[in-house]
Symmetry: C2
Subunit: 335 residues, 2 copies
């Protein structure tokens, strides 16, 4: 074990509290004492014990970020933004993976590790509003995404309906008329999938094009393989689509792969657009058009909501914050 404050006090010949005062820059410490203590601090290589500090009522300097899948590039890149921006709040980020399992998500909320973190940021997949309300733990919480937009907690999201609308409108502007959508989740209500589907439909409606059930393909997990499978099925239709909007970039990349294997030219035969703006899409051949949410802003907003919640206490009403997005037109949908 390292040296404790007590060891330092003994070494410097002062009281424990004086050492504490030096450490915390308490103003009334004589220069001589301060120097003496600092010397001992250095000599014994003192390092504070966070647990003790926390126990005393302080902060740990750790916030937890729970995402469904850390190996998914979107979440990995988002996590990187959190790690980065957390620095300006003097926080370290504990990243947790829930696998989208409701139990795991609940465990995070219910604070199995409570008292170890100053706050929680959760990107829920399976959680319900009821779970949120049933929550007893008092650790400040920020939700990511619109999944539980009306739960009584702070949340940060982007306008998914508008993003999906912009993606679909872009394909329409290219003159495409049979536009497929990959990633619907008929059995999940209120989730991101439902919002993106809504935006897709709105754009078609605005262009006076009826939406066809054939062209809307569900996907369970939003992986590359799901996009691949859905695209393959679409190409087998009697009337295949001339464009596809995938609800995330990974599926779009799977779709591009399927198109490549079938020898369908992109974008000439089928134009493709994704959603997320992961780096992978920029280097894919063809490079992937996409809607890119401002991940830096998401991280900044979530962290500052958390900071407010922590410093002002839990009494203020829940806040909502929206981050922007941009349309990136690349090869997979270029004129």
């Amino acid at each position: 074990m390292g040296a404790s404050i007590k060891d330092v006090a003994r070494h410097a010949g002062v009281s424990v509290k004086t050492v504490s005062n030096v450490i915390n820059d308490f103003p009334f410490v004589s220069a001589a004492t301060r120097a003496k203590v600092q010397q001992s601090l250095a000599e014994l290589d003192y390092r504070p014990n966070l647990s003790a500090r926390l126990l005393r009522g302080g902060r740990t300097g750790v916030v937890a970020l729970a995402v469904p899948e850390i190996s998914s590039p979107y979440f990995a890149e988002l996590a990187a933004q959190f790690v980065q921006h957390a620095k300006s709040h003097a926080w370290t980020v504990l990243i947790d993976e829930t696998q989208g399992a409701r139990d795991s998500e609940r465990i995070v909320l219910d604070g199995i590790k409570s008292h170890l973190v100053d706050g929680l940021i959760v990107s829920p997949l399976a959680l319900t509003t009821h779970d949120i309300n049933a929550r007893r733990d008092r650790t400040p919480l920020v939700l990511l995404g619109e999944r539980l937009a009306h739960a009584p907690v702070d949340h940060v999201s982007i306008d998914n309906v508008d993003g999906a609308r912009a993606a679909t409108a872009h394909l329409l502007e290219l003159g495409r008329r049979r536009i497929a959508a990959i990633g619907s989740q008929p059995h999940v209500s209120g989730g991101t999938a439902a919002l993106r589907l809504k935006g897709y439909r709105a754009a078609l409606r605005a262009a006076g094009i009826p939406s066809s059930a054939d062209l809307i393909r569900p996907a369970p997990r939003y992986h590359r393989a799901d996009g691949y499978a859905a695209m393959t099925a679409l190409l087998d239709l009697p009337q295949p689509p001339d464009a596809v909007f995938c609800f995330n970039d990974l599926m779009a990349i799977g779709a591009l792969r399927a198109l490549h294997e079938r020898g369908v030219p992109v974008p000439a035969g089928v134009a493709v657009i994704g959603f997320d703006g992961i780096e992978e899409g920029d280097f894919h051949t063809p490079s992937l058009s996409t809607i890119r949410p401002d991940r830096g802003e998401i991280a900044r907003l979530a962290l500052s909501l958390l900071d407010n919640r922590i410093t002002t206490g839990a009494e203020t009403p829940p806040q909502e914050a929206y981050a922007g997005f941009e349309l990136l037109v690349r090869e997979s949908s270029a004129g």
Copy 2:
């Protein structure tokens, strides 16, 4: 704040210690008392305070994993393996990003957050053996990679020389003779780059081919853009290569992009192989041949070394463990 053990004791009309005994399954508690306490526990929704427990000398159930860059797919996928396998040790993984900065890596080692985690797993980029030796903190540590193979700590790695040799040999078997390497780091000694370069050279030597300085390109950060830039430079040579071994998959994907833009057919004109086995390579067009280290094994080995170190105390000599790898032949180098 949630209920403390003290609140539970008052509610159940017993002493604090009795509650503690019930919680920890101390044998001599009468059935009646146990039932009463458990009732109160449930009613007050008691949850232990980990800090206090830790302060008392216990474990936190948290291990820290420090990687250079969490947004890099290799590390994201590796982290996912750690999160997954940590479950069987009843650990949560705190993921930290060092950006490869020596200072950040040192801070992790020196235990700024010491006393908060049971152990550390660090994938060093800039750390020196001296840093390891200067370490005062007693938290058990496992290093990943061969970078500091001879430091006096447990470490887990793969045989990078042999992996690089296998990758290069594969290209030689295709009949290629001008084989380039992307990713050398002339100013860093003993790192992964040096080992992979060594394996590359060994394979060439075994085939009786002199290695040419022109064909060995440095890369600072191992990102897609670095591979892109290096490949572009290689194509501008008077005698461009007919194959490329990239020291990681991301650079290989950048190289593929450069080849695509120049209209060079892959693998007919230039065959490409990477290193890491990230999922992205499997869906790229063309799909990427690569050397894939067994990431699950890396995680398992590192966690069990850590577990041993924690349970047996720090007295046993440092252990070394090696995980396997496999050669995946895909389109970028297929016959």
